[in-house]
């Protein structure tokens, strides 16, 4: 076998510590008979599957809920990136990125990053300590399916998604018998990506393993406008590189699915990851070389076991999840003649144990019931060994959920959901959701959707207990939202158009922000009221023009997120102003053309100006000007008898623009990535 040797080398280069020995054995023994491949053609087949599912746009279970599912073509295209990049470029979610490979948080509809709930295979993975998720740490490679639930729709999974929720999941491919796929990426700034996926199974049991290793020196050049050297009486800005910003990330996802009969389905997933990165100093830093050096280490383990039981119209799901997160942050300085000593050395351990039981019953075609019970136990221990500050605490959350869905007439679906929570010893107020769908036209499916909902988000453990400033008296944030929209689908032969427009209004009270008080340190307070209004649209067109397959998809959002906090504070200019870092206009578009074995994609993404000052002061130093970003990719596939090879060349920041997404954080200019993908598989 000509490829066996290559394969072995590729696997070896991937880092032998990661790959259990039995995998090697499996590759070597099994490689001889691999055939077929996961190809561009397959992704189209998948795409069509998605569309078939999407055709059922009028279901009582989702009445009034806005859900968007990220196209599988997009997931495939962004396989080597982080979820933050995919969300920014292909969904209406705004990502605040602190730089390439750096912290990236998400905001739906003008809300805060902690208002976006994130679920992985059903379990919530928001940090109980911080309340939010760093999307730069989630590789797209471990995801099979991404569904966004906008605004109140997130109540179906949990409370707290005042902006919405992002659900990432894995699913079994029951047609698989043996499969192997390897991607090697080489990019600018010493970026190397390695991904290996292998799976084995039959119609009863499926096992799949993914391992990955990504790293980058991330040392891109830029002109440093914050430093000036005098040269012949002139101020000169030095050519600089992005220093102390290298990152690496490696991890694995293991999945086992077992369906002993049609009535039972059991699955177990484990995702482990280690991430390490430098946090670059401010670019205006002119202190000694070995000082002010920050590093962050993120270690994650998430596991979930699920058992599902089906019988005619009944379904029981039992799920048990565990999430572990260790975050180490250090700031070190070299002081005269010593090794660098830490000025900050903080370690936090976060653990969550999550139990879930649900029961669904379909009484008839027109009436269904869902009830669910969640019990989560969180443990957080955080400590800085230099200042010796920190806290250690536990929290228990209990949640009861009841939903009644009914088809009132042929054209009307109704969805009533109620959630009741207990935190610690406290009852939260009831969270109700009422959604309605009205089918205007069946021929060209056109559905009007609307909902009204209340929601709460409880303060994070840092909000309550951080030293100094943690405020145990904080109240939950309270959201009230209404939305309405139109969803449409048109599918004549060889052509497919889907579109949706949604208007939303969300009123959030007791919004928590960290702010310094007269006491001199920062503390969180329930001081804001934010009224967020706007619209979201998306459209997707695909079809075939003679030999050319085309896919065009895009989103546009208009967001007005205005602070209406207590205007009593004299001189406060933030009243009535747009929240910082929330663009009014944002949009993106992806064009993808495929001709025979060739594919070309163009990705565009833009935001209007963003303010960094709460009074919307636009002094030049504080202003983030409108953002327009373009990426281009070219791919070619070679199909052989027993294996397939795909080469893809990507150009990021096509027009080599100088830009910022955070003040004074340089971003990379035009840069490149070449990736090779080898696929071997067997399908029944």
């Amino acid at each position: 076998m000509p490829f066996r040797f290559n394969l072995y080398n590729l696997v070896k280069n991937n880092g032998n510590t990661l790959i259990p020995g039995f995998l090697f054995l499996f590759f070597v023994l099994g490689s001889a008979s691999f055939s077929g491949a996961q190809t561009i053609r397959d992704s189209i087949i998948e795409l069509e599957e998605v569309q078939v599912r999407a055709a059922r746009i009028f279901e009582k279970e989702t009445a009034g809920m806005k859900e968007t599912r990220v196209d599988s073509l997009v997931i495939r295209q962004k396989l080597n990136l982080s979820l933050s990049e995919l969300l920014a470029e292909n969904t209406p979610v705004y990502i605040k990125s602190h730089g390439r490979g750096a912290l990236a948080t998400a905001s739906f509809r003008g809300t805060a990053s902690s208002h976006t709930q994130v679920n992985w295979n059903g379990i919530n993975i928001n940090s109980p300590m911080l309340g939010m998720v760093d999307f730069s740490l989630i590789p797209v490679y471990i995801i099979d399916d991404i569904t966004l639930k906008h605004g109140g729709a997130s109540v179906s999974d949990q409370s707290g998604g005042l902006g919405g929720s992002i659900n990432i999941a894995n699913r079994a491919d029951w047609t698989n018998t043996r499969q192997l796929s390897y991607i090697q990426g080489v990019g600018s700034f010493s970026t190397r990506d390695q991904f290996l996926m292998t799976s084995l199974g039959n119609s009863k049991i499926q096992w799949r393993s993914r391992v990955y290793y990504n790293r980058s020196e991330n040392n891109y050049p830029f002109i440093n406008r914050t430093i000036a050297d005098q040269e012949n009486g002139q101020l000169v800005h030095p050519a600089d590189t992005n220093k102390h910003a290298a990152y690496s990330r490696y991890g694995t996802l293991q999945e086992v699915y077992w369906q002993p009969s049609h009535q039972h389905m059991v699955s177990v997933h484990w995702w482990g990851q280690m991430g390490e990165r430098g946090i670059p100093r401010v670019i205006s830093f002119e202190g000694p070389d070995n000082t002010n050096i920050s590093r962050q280490k993120d270690q994650d383990h998430k596991a979930v076991a699920r058992w599902q039981w089906y019988r005619d119209s009944d379904n029981i799901t039992i799920r048990s999840g565990y999430a572990f997160r260790q975050l180490d942050y250090t700031l070190k300085n070299q002081i005269s003649g010593t090794d660098p000593i830490p000025a900050v050395d903080s370690e936090s351990f976060q653990q969550s144990f999550m139990q879930y039981v649900s029961y669904r019953k379909e009484f008839s075609q027109t009436l269904s019931l869902e009830s669910a019970f969640n019990f989560d136990h969180h443990k957080v221990h955080t400590r800085d060994s230099v200042t010796q500050t920190g806290y250690k605490t536990n929290r228990e959350d209990l949640s009861l959920f009841l939903a009644l869905r009914s088809r009132l007439q042929k054209r009307v679906n109704m969805n009533l959901m109620i959630r009741q929570e207990f935190r610690g010893n406290e009852f939260s107020p009831i969270i109700p959701f009422l959604g309605i769908d009205y089918m205007v036209s069946k021929r060209h499916p056109l559905v009007l959707k609307a909902h009204i909902a209340r929601n709460y988000r409880h303060p994070s453990l840092n909000d309550l207990y951080w030293v100094p400033g943690g405020n145990p008296e904080l109240k939950p944030e309270k959201g009230f939202s209404v939305e309405g929209g139109i969803r449409h689908q048109w599918k004549p032969v060889g052509f497919n158009l889907q579109s949706e427009i949604t208007f939303f209004r969300s009123d959030i009270n007791n919004w928590i922000i960290w702010i310094p008080s007269f006491k001199g340190y920062w503390e969180p307070q329930n001081i804001r009221r934010v009224l967020s209004r706007g619209l979201e649209t998306h459209a997707k067109v695909s079809g075939k023009l003679s030999e050319i397959q085309y896919h065009i998809m895009g989103t546009y959002s208009y967001t007005q997120a205005i602070n209406y906090g207590d205007p009593a504070r004299w001189g406060d200019e933030s009243y009535g102003k747009q929240l910082v870092f929330i663009p009014q206009h944002s949009g993106n578009v992806l064009f993808n053309l495929q001709y025979k074995a060739y594919a070309i994609s163009w990705q565009h993404n833009s935001y209007s100006e963003r303010f960094t000052a709460s009074g919307n002061d636009i002094s030049r130093r504080n202003w983030l000007y409108p953002y327009y970003m373009n990426d281009l990719s070219l791919a070619k596939e070679w199909i052989f008898e027993k294996w397939n090879l795909q080469a893809e060349f990507k150009i990021y920041n096509l027009f080599n623009e100088t830009y910022h997404t955070i003040l004074y954080r340089p971003m990379p200019g035009r840069n490149f990535m070449l990736s090779l993908r080898l696929d071997l598989h067997d399908r029944r």
Partner: protein, 354 residues
């Protein structure tokens, strides 16, 4: 397709813009800290005669941002030395034109600058465990004074403000500390330590060579201890605490300043307090803050004009919008309100030589 493409114009951000020439010889610099890691510190200039406020004078003049967290400014002759803490540098500007004249780089986390002579100045530091000795004329670092406290389990000593009595410089150690260090300027050595209550935040020296110190008492939950803030008087020669006023545990005292004749203290404890140095009474509120106690922002920076004894008080509001500076007469009557930039934290006064 490519019609959508529009160039992001980064260059336009950096153009210099003419700054009007201030007609009066007097002037007040307001050092706006900006936000940590945002690189948006800035310099404002106020003409107290014409009542004109000019914001962003450094950026507009030089097409260069000041840096990350501008903490203090020291004036010597016709030059201003702006300490930019998290940029590890000191920018030197011309006081009349705001033009950049030079920079002192290679500082770890500089806080304040104090002139010992025209050729020698000290720069305190939060993290270096040393005070840098610099030559303000050549902009070079010429030495350092080791202040590493090997005995403490905390990161000590960080050094902050400086006052000088005779040949001795006194500097307060604020972060997880409770000491005043005494430095001999002849030998550039740390020679003595004076213990004070928890976290000495600011200091001044009065007409009688008495050093006054405000301690903020730390914060609830601090492993170094949390106690009531105090105002302490130390004799510069005896190096002993002579007098102490203790506030409430929930108070937060800060920003000690002194007037022209060095006989009246001013400081912030939510409100502005005034205290004559010879008085034995407990310090009293002088200017009431209108900002409610349960709200955000409020008075956080205080400066007293050494020429007129007028009082300037900074309020950062929510710390992410342009802050406000209030100007009062020495009697506490409001004169003017200025909208400056993010987090006004310090003042420097251009003193006209008679």
């Amino acid at each position: 397709m490519l019609i959508l493409h529009a160039c992001m114009d980064d260059d336009a951000l950096w153009e210099t813009r003419p700054v009007p020439v201030s007609p009066s010889p007097e002037g007040v610099f307001i050092i706006n800290e900006g936000n940590f890691m945002y690189g948006n510190a800035s310099l404002s200039y106020y003409d107290p005669v014409e009542k004109i406020i000019l914001n962003d004078v450094f950026f507009n003049t030089n097409g260069l941002p000041l840096g990350d967290v501008a903490l203090s400014m020291t004036i010597r002759g016709n030059l201003g030395y702006i300490v930019v803490n998290n940029s590890g540098r000191i920018y030197v500007i011309d006081l009349e034109t705001f033009e950049l004249k030079g920079k002192i780089t290679g500082l770890t986390s500089p806080r304040y600058m104090h002139f010992v002579s025209d050729e020698k100045a000290y720069v305190t530091d939060l993290y270096a465990k040393a005070i840098a000795v610099v030559n303000p004329q050549t902009y070079e670092i010429t030495g350092s004074i080791d202040v590493n406290n090997h005995e403490s389990e905390f990161y000590q000593h960080s050094t902050e403000q400086m006052v000088q009595v005779g040949k001795y410089v006194f500097t307060n150690c604020w972060s997880f500390d409770n000491n005043i260090l005494v430095i001999d300027t002849d030998t550039d050595q740390w020679v003595e330590t004076i213990e004070v209550p928890v976290q000495p935040q600011s200091m001044v020296v009065d007409a009688n060579d008495k050093i006054w110190v405000i301690t903020d008492g730390g914060f609830p939950g601090s492993p170094f201890g949390h106690e009531a803030p105090t105002l302490v008087r130390i004799d510069a020669h005896e190096r002993k605490t002579e007098k102490m006023y203790q506030f409430d545990l929930n108070d937060h005292a800060m920003s000690l300043a002194i007037n022209k004749t060095k006989d009246t203290l001013y400081f912030i404890n939510r409100h502005v307090y005034r205290h004559p140095v010879g008085s034995d009474d407990f310090p009293e509120i002088f200017i009431q803050s209108t900002s409610p106690a349960d709200s955000y922002g409020g008075f956080r920076a205080l400066g007293v004009d050494p020429a007129s004894s007028e009082i300037y008080v900074g309020d950062a509001i929510d710390f992410v919008q342009p802050g406000i500076v209030y100007r009062f007469t020495p009697q506490g009557q409001p004169i003017d309100t200025l909208r400056v930039r993010i987090s006004p934290g310090n003042f420097a006064f251009k003193v006209t030589t008679p």
